[in-house]
């Protein structure tokens, strides 16, 4: 049974989504919720099994690599699956608010969301370069229609831009796969490493294409231009998933590649370059976030910045940095989902998200503002929170390896995050003068308020759960410590 769990983790939601499309609005919202619950259960079983037995593999069709494709649930995949399940559960409950009633819109939402969930799981479990290309496309092509659910008129330009970049990025990645296959004669992550490490031009080109393609998908500066409009205009539940999981999936790939196919690049100039890109993302994203006039765009640019932290793993490349980067991904996922859901509640209540016109929200939307505040603590990297633990680990790694400049980047990044977050909270607390909020909708229901709050609380609690999580992650593969 255990070895079938990875398959179920992918195909429960995938089949659920396909059948939702088939059923139309029949079965809403019971069917998708049942599928979501089953998926969460399956992922929990899988994570439990990985925790106790180590990694689980499943050769699809019974064909072992290099001929066939392997699903592999190791520590890294397990923590990402767990993140997806947590955020997915919260988003599924939240979505009962805006997408709970039967309508074509709701059908599309649930079908696409379940498909996206399955796609993400497929991506995290894949151990095959070309299969990862297909899962990347799956993720992209379920994510973009989700963005459009906010109303095509508003989002079509953003979606188009997103699509162009995503397509170009994945084709660049595919070129890398093609050359890798030419070199190695295999597509399995565990088998292509030696060929990519031979130092030749073709190996370099392949590595460059793989990295470049993934960087475009991960919206790392300067390839970030598609992200803010897409994340800033999508429905709240979708923005949460996009920021917490979808871009994270691309960065996850980069980390994954670093441990296997591209392990040879560790300690090279490429690693420093990736770190520099990360620093650029942190500074640029934070400054842009500070300059935005719309709440959702602040949160979206914050994602651009926060992804940069994960790239700091590459120049540091020690076990602590690995833990820190992955934990940052998890903490940011939870916190950012909470931020977007809370923002969604603000928009549902006020009808817009123009910062200057949001004053004194803390009373009518106490729970959502509270969630926003809790999640912000993690985003700012302040204790006690998951973001802080991650920052601590990265800082320690920077100091330990004597690369103090990355420590400075981390510290300044935290301060910049505080600057744009506090700017938002100021408006929430500000009572007079200035116009009170012009209310357009009812106070969001408990179904919409609590997922944000619970995620926010989790972001704080993650300040205390690092030890078991990192034990599940199992340390930097191949590290001697």
């Amino acid at each position: 049974m255990t070895e079938h769990l990875p398959v179920l983790a992918v195909f429960l939601p995938l089949l659920g989504g396909v059948l939702q499309f088939l059923l139309g609005s029949r079965g809403l919202p019971v069917w998708p919720l049942a599928v979501a619950a089953l998926t969460v259960g399956c992922v929990l079983l899988l994570v439990g099994a990985v925790g106790s037995n180590g990694s689980i593999e499943h050769a699809i069709g019974g064909w072992d690599p290099p001929l066939g494709i392997r699903l592999r649930a190791d520590g890294l995949a397990a923590v990402m699956l767990l993140l997806t399940a947590v955020v997915g559960a919260a988003v599924s409950v939240y979505a009962l608010g805006p997408h709970g009633k039967a309508s074509p819109q709701a059908t599309h939402f649930w079908a696409l969301w379940l498909l996206l969930w399955g796609s993400l799981n497929a991506l995290f479990l894949s151990a095959d370069l070309f299969n990862i290309y297909v899962t990347l496309e799956l993720v992209t092509l379920s994510a973009i229609p989700l963005v459009l659910l906010a109303g095509p008129g508003k989002t079509v330009a953003a979606a188009l831009r997103y699509l162009q970049f995503a397509l170009f990025g994945s084709l660049l990645y595919l070129l890398g796969v093609a050359i890798t296959y030419g070199l190695a004669g295999s597509l399995d992550l565990a088998l292509v490493g030696p060929a990519l490490a031979d130092g030749g031009l073709a190996a370099g080109l392949a590595a460059g294409c793989l990295i470049g393609g993934v960087l475009v998908k991960a919206a790392i500066v300067p390839c970030h231009v598609w992200l803010p409009p897409a994340h800033g205009n999508a429905p709240a539940a979708v923005s949460a998933v996009l920021s917490a999981l979808v871009v994270k999936a691309a960065v996850y790939l980069l980390l994954r590649f670093w441990t296997e196919p591209l392990a040879g690049l560790s300690g090279t100039l490429v690693a420093q370059l990736l770190g520099a890109l990360g620093a650029a993302a942190i500074f640029y994203g934070s400054i842009q976030a500070f300059r935005q006039e719309r709440l959702k765009l602040v949160v979206a640019y914050s994602t651009v910045a926060q992804l940069g932290y994960m790239l700091l793993f590459f120049p540091l490349a020690v076990s602590q940095a690995w833990d820190g980067a992955v934990y940052h991904g998890l903490a940011h996922g939870v916190a950012k989902a909470s931020l977007f859901l809370a923002t969604g509640n603000v928009i549902a209540y006020v009808g817009h998200d123009r910062l200057r016109e949001l004053r004194g929200l803390d009373r009518p939307l106490a729970l959502s503002v509270f969630a926003f505040g809790l999640a912000s603590v993690s985003i700012m990297g302040l204790p006690p929170s998951g973001g802080f633990v991650a920052k601590w680990l990265l800082l320690s790694a920077a100091v330990e390896t004597g690369q103090w400049w990355w420590a400075v980047v981390l510290i300044i990044g935290g301060l910049l995050a505080a600057a744009y977050i506090i700017r938002v909270l100021r408006y929430a607390f500000l009572q007079a003068p200035g116009p009170a909020v012009d209310v357009q909708g009812p106070v969001p229901s408990a179904v919409m308020a609590w997922p944000a709050t619970l995620l926010g609380l989790l972001a704080i609690l993650m300040g205390f759960t690092a030890a078991p999580t990192l034990a599940l992650l199992g340390g930097l593969p191949g590290a001697t410590s």
Binding site: T140, L141, K154, A157, L167, L171, I179, N233
Partner: protein
């Protein structure tokens, strides 16, 4: 392995270069989609060459990858074209690029 250099290797490189050029220089979404597809064709050509160079007959695995890639590229492009139609035929107010970069 073929003893004479395949001229199609240059064609693949040319397709990739031209596709890249088009993607960078054009703003019009339809032209960008064209450029992306040309780039994609360069990738497919590369895969086909890799398949052909295997001793003992064309390698079926890159061929399968190309087939998958073509279908994905065409579906994504068709989706993109629907987006283009929608974005270009909307009222003026909505047609602008999102105001954020």
């Amino acid at each position: 392995m073929s003893s004479i250099p395949d001229p199609f290797g240059l064609a693949a490189a040319a397709l990739l270069a031209v596709g890249f050029y088009g993607f960078v220089t054009h703003r019009h979404p339809l032209r960008r989609l064209l450029a992306i597809n040309i780039f994609g064709n360069g990738v497919f050509m590369t895969l086909i060459l890799v398949a052909r160079w295997m001793p003992g007959g064309p390698d079926p695995i890159p061929h399968a990858m190309v087939l998958t890639g073509i279908v994905i590229a065409v579906s994504a492009t068709a989706f993109g074209l629907a987006l283009v139609r929608r974005s270009m035929t909307q009222e003026d107010g909505d047609r602008r690029e999102p105001d954020d970069d």
